[in-house]
């Protein structure tokens, strides 16, 4: 007691204060350690690095276990969502954050898991057996693949965009995204090396791509390249004049080596509901399986389905000037805001996925089960490189549907007006309609010498819906869309 008494009161209070300070320091230090430390790496020129990347890209990545994170804050308005954890930013703008775990043994053995609190959605491919699992609904879905998937594989090609069943997942695959971006390198881009970074605990070079044109909404793209294996680890896209990325996809963990075989095999657990779904040999044109196969079945309707800018990039927004590089109809959706995600607080929302595909030529709302198509036309790409714009020809049914969504506050689009011109059209229902309307509400009315229409501006993407039902979208300033609207969209 007397010994203790010698410590003054002030000295005693210094102990908890010291512990708080120490805890703060440790938290800060670990945050710094996990963030971008700049490792010292042998100097390389841009050309050397690109050559290494090309070499590495030619080889399959090999078995990996990885965690992929994708986040975006596009300046879209917060969309109605059944999920409170969806999160809106300080300005009430939607912010997406997706994390999926990937176990990849090869083209025929893949597991992709999206973890939510107290829940999980899984895709397991074991040879030709494809199983989807949703823990919220305790539903196991067996997907019967058409025979041609044998040939294409689901693939490494999970790792290359616009392919196969996993095209949706490819949307957030940094490898695929970087490949698209690097393929687009040309005279329109200024390429340089930025300071080295650490991504997923791995030292990496950083390539900076800056469009030379000022009419692109993209200010800079940073691609982190693994210093040992020369594979892209992370892609960050910055809007012009912004210092924080508007979109980012990258590995947060990456381990090379064979994942356990138990990850791929699946037997429906006792008590689970088991469904069987057959993927049609010819999927509905323009509808990415990423959204059909996964989204509508509710396996990570978000995580594995189409994702906003990734999908956009993959579908050739500016990344790939050649829209025919992948089979049409298997493209990832372009502008998609899919949500109600599975969460502990929103039970039973598996399958409630909303995908609005504007630039592949369709406005598609995928509701509980079946996709709803409002108008379908083959999209065309106008312009090239950073100024690529995806456009669909004028379509009265699109115009009518837009008009109706804007004017009516309740009810749904009547098939008569929206669907007469487009066969196979049915009603978008429920929350999907609300999302569409909310998106349309965020548009502003614009007009000019080119005509008139509604413009949706986000930090990275502009979308123009003209009064005659043509849709144009690209990572460009609206002026580019107006100019393009005069021409081919006629």
């Amino acid at each position: 007691m007397t010994r203790m008494r010698r410590l003054s009161t002030r000295a005693r209070w210094a102990v908890p204060a010291g512990i708080v300070a120490a805890a703060g320091l440790v938290a800060a230090a670990s945050a710094v350690a996990s963030a971008d430390l700049a490792p010292a790496l042998p100097a390389r020129s841009v050309a050397q690095l690109l050559a290494k990347v090309a070499l590495a890209a030619a080889k399959p990545i090999g078995p990996v276990t990885a965690t992929v994170q994708e986040s975006s804050s596009l300046g879209l308005p917060a969309l109605p969502s059944a999920n409170p954890s969806q999160g809106t930013g300080p300005l009430g703008l939607a912010q997406n954050n997706e994390t999926v775990n990937v176990w990849y043994l090869g083209q025929t053995h893949i597991r992709i898991a999206e973890q939510t609190q107290m829940g999980e959605s899984d895709l397991r491919l074991d040879g030709r057996a494809l199983w989807l699992w949703n823990s919220k609904t305790q539903t196991a879905t067996r997907v019967i693949l058409p025979s041609h998937f044998d040939r294409n594989g689901l693939g490494p090609d999970y790792l290359s965009p616009g392919h196969s069943v996993s095209s949706g997942a490819a949307a957030i695959d940094p490898l695929a995204l970087a490949a698209q971006l690097l393929a687009a390198l040309g005279p329109s881009t200024r390429v340089s090396l930025e300071r080295n970074v650490t991504v997923a605990g791995r030292p990496a070079y950083q390539l900076s791509l800056v469009p030379k044109t000022s009419r692109s909404l993209i200010g800079q793209v940073l691609i982190a390249i693994d210093a040992r294996r020369f594979i892209p680890l992370r892609v960050e896209i910055f809007a012009r004049g912004s210092s924080s990325p508007a979109y980012e996809a990258g590995f947060t963990a990456l381990t090379f080596g064979r994942p356990s075989a138990s990850n791929f095999s699946f037997t429906p657990p006792p008590g689970a509901r088991v469904k069987t779904v057959t993927v049609p040999t010819k999927p509905p044109s323009g509808l990415g399986l990423g959204s059909l196969g996964l989204g509508s079945l509710g396996v990570g309707g978000n995580g594995l389905g189409g994702l906003v800018p990734g999908g956009f990039l993959n579908s050739g927004g500016f990344g790939s000037p050649n829209p025919d590089s992948a089979a049409p109809g298997l493209r990832a959706p372009s502008i998609s805001t899919n949500k109600p995600r599975a969460s502990a607080s929103t039970p039973g929302n598996g399958g409630q996925t909303v995908v609005v595909v504007a630039t592949t030529g369709q406005v598609v709302a995928i509701g509980k089960d079946q996709p709803t198509v409002i108008g379908k036309d083959q999209p065309t790409v106008i312009g090239k490189s950073w100024l690529s714009v995806i456009a669909t020809p004028p379509n009265p049914s699109v115009a009518a549907a837009v008009q109706q969504l804007l004017t009516r506050t309740t009810g749904s689009v009547t098939p008569g007006s929206a669907g007469s011109a487009a066969p196979g059209t049915s009603n978008p229902v429920g929350p999907d309609l609300a999302v569409l309307r909310e998106l349309l509400k965020a548009t502003t009315s614009v007009h000019g010498a080119w005509g008139s229409g509604r413009l949706l501006r986000t930090t990275l993407v502009s979308v123009l819906i003209t009064s005659n039902g043509a849709i144009l979208a690209g990572a460009v300033t609206p002026a580019v869309l107006y100019a393009d609207a005069v021409g081919p969209a006629k």
Partner: protein, 299 residues
């Protein structure tokens, strides 16, 4: 209220007399203190009533679920509830998730908030300080009893719930969140880990309650303060605009045990949670120590 140093001849209560008379010669005083403290926590009618309520709620919920569940759940209700009908083991988890939001923290706050302030308000604190163990040891004994109470209440809740689940529902191989199954024994072991994790969370909360308890002589004030911290933290945790602060909230990791029910087991959530609990225990333990060893005790 607070005056100068504790006097060894404080007003004796019957309890104190009992505490001192029972001490054998070779048993160190702090251990005698610990024993009497345990008796105080676990034999006190109010605390027994608390434990009784904690044991009753899983029984009531089990019966309720049994009456309302038919067939596999549609994913509604609290986490894991959709699996209860298929496997009674999940009743333990479903009930724990439900009770972590109010009943368990409430019980722990009552015991922790009462630890020092209760003695002060009863006038028994001065007598306790007469035990030749020192204030630091007295505080450690109080904390240890809170740890045991937290452990007992979590194990009680999960244990009773699992028992009810076994009685009311079929039992078998346990389906993990990942869709794969593990044998019942492995599943039960994981449920036990979850209960221990929840107990760790409650210990961290208990240290907050203990710190609050050293700041006042009114136990109700300390209990209320700890509960307000829980509620404020839960509310802040639900506000997405505060997402940057979420990992630092005391309640943020309470439910982060779901990684134990994945295949392969994902330890990251549990690790973060345990780190957070340890930090809270250290910080508020130190606050309690700084306050309790420097304050003057009059009653």
């Amino acid at each position: 209220m607070w005056t100068s140093a504790a006097s060894p001849t404080g007003p004796d209560s019957g309890e104190l007399a009992e505490r001192q008379s029972r001490g054998a010669k070779h048993v160190p005083p702090w251990f005698r203190l610990f024993r009497s403290e345990l008796r105080l926590v676990f034999c006190r009618p109010r605390n027994l009533a608390l434990l009784g309520v904690l044991a009753f709620i899983p029984v009531a919920l089990g019966v309720l679920f049994k009456l309302s569940l038919s067939g596999p759940g549609g994913g509604g209700g609290p986490a894991f509830l959709n699996q209860v009908a298929g496997n009674g083991v999940f009743l333990g988890l479903a009930v724990l998730v439900l009770m972590l939001s109010l009943f368990l923290p409430l019980a722990v706050c009552v015991v922790a908030g009462d630890a020092i302030a209760g003695e002060a308000s009863h006038g028994t604190l001065r007598g306790l300080l007469a035990v030749p163990a020192g204030r630091t040891r007295l505080l450690a004994v109080k904390l240890a009893s809170i740890v045991l109470f937290a452990l007992a209440s979590c194990l009680l809740v999960v244990g009773v719930a699992v028992l009810m689940g076994v009685v009311l529902f079929p039992v078998g191989r346990v389906t993990l969140l990942s869709g794969t199954t593990v044998p019942l024994s492995v599943g039960l072991l994981r449920v036990l880990f979850v209960a221990l994790y929840a107990a760790a969370a409650m210990v961290a909360l208990g240290s907050i309650g203990l710190a609050a308890s050293t700041l006042t002589v009114h136990p109700v004030g300390a209990i209320a303060a700890a509960l307000v911290i829980v509620l404020a933290s839960e509310i802040a945790d639900a506000v997405p605009q505060l997402s940057a602060a979420h990992p630092f909230l005391p309640t943020h990791f309470w439910l982060s045990f779901d990684g134990l029910f994945r295949a392969p087991v994902d330890w990251s959530g549990v690790q973060h949670g345990l780190l957070s609990f340890a930090a809270y225990l250290l910080i508020f333990g130190a606050v309690a120590w700084a306050r309790f060893t420097s304050a003057d005790v009059a009653s």
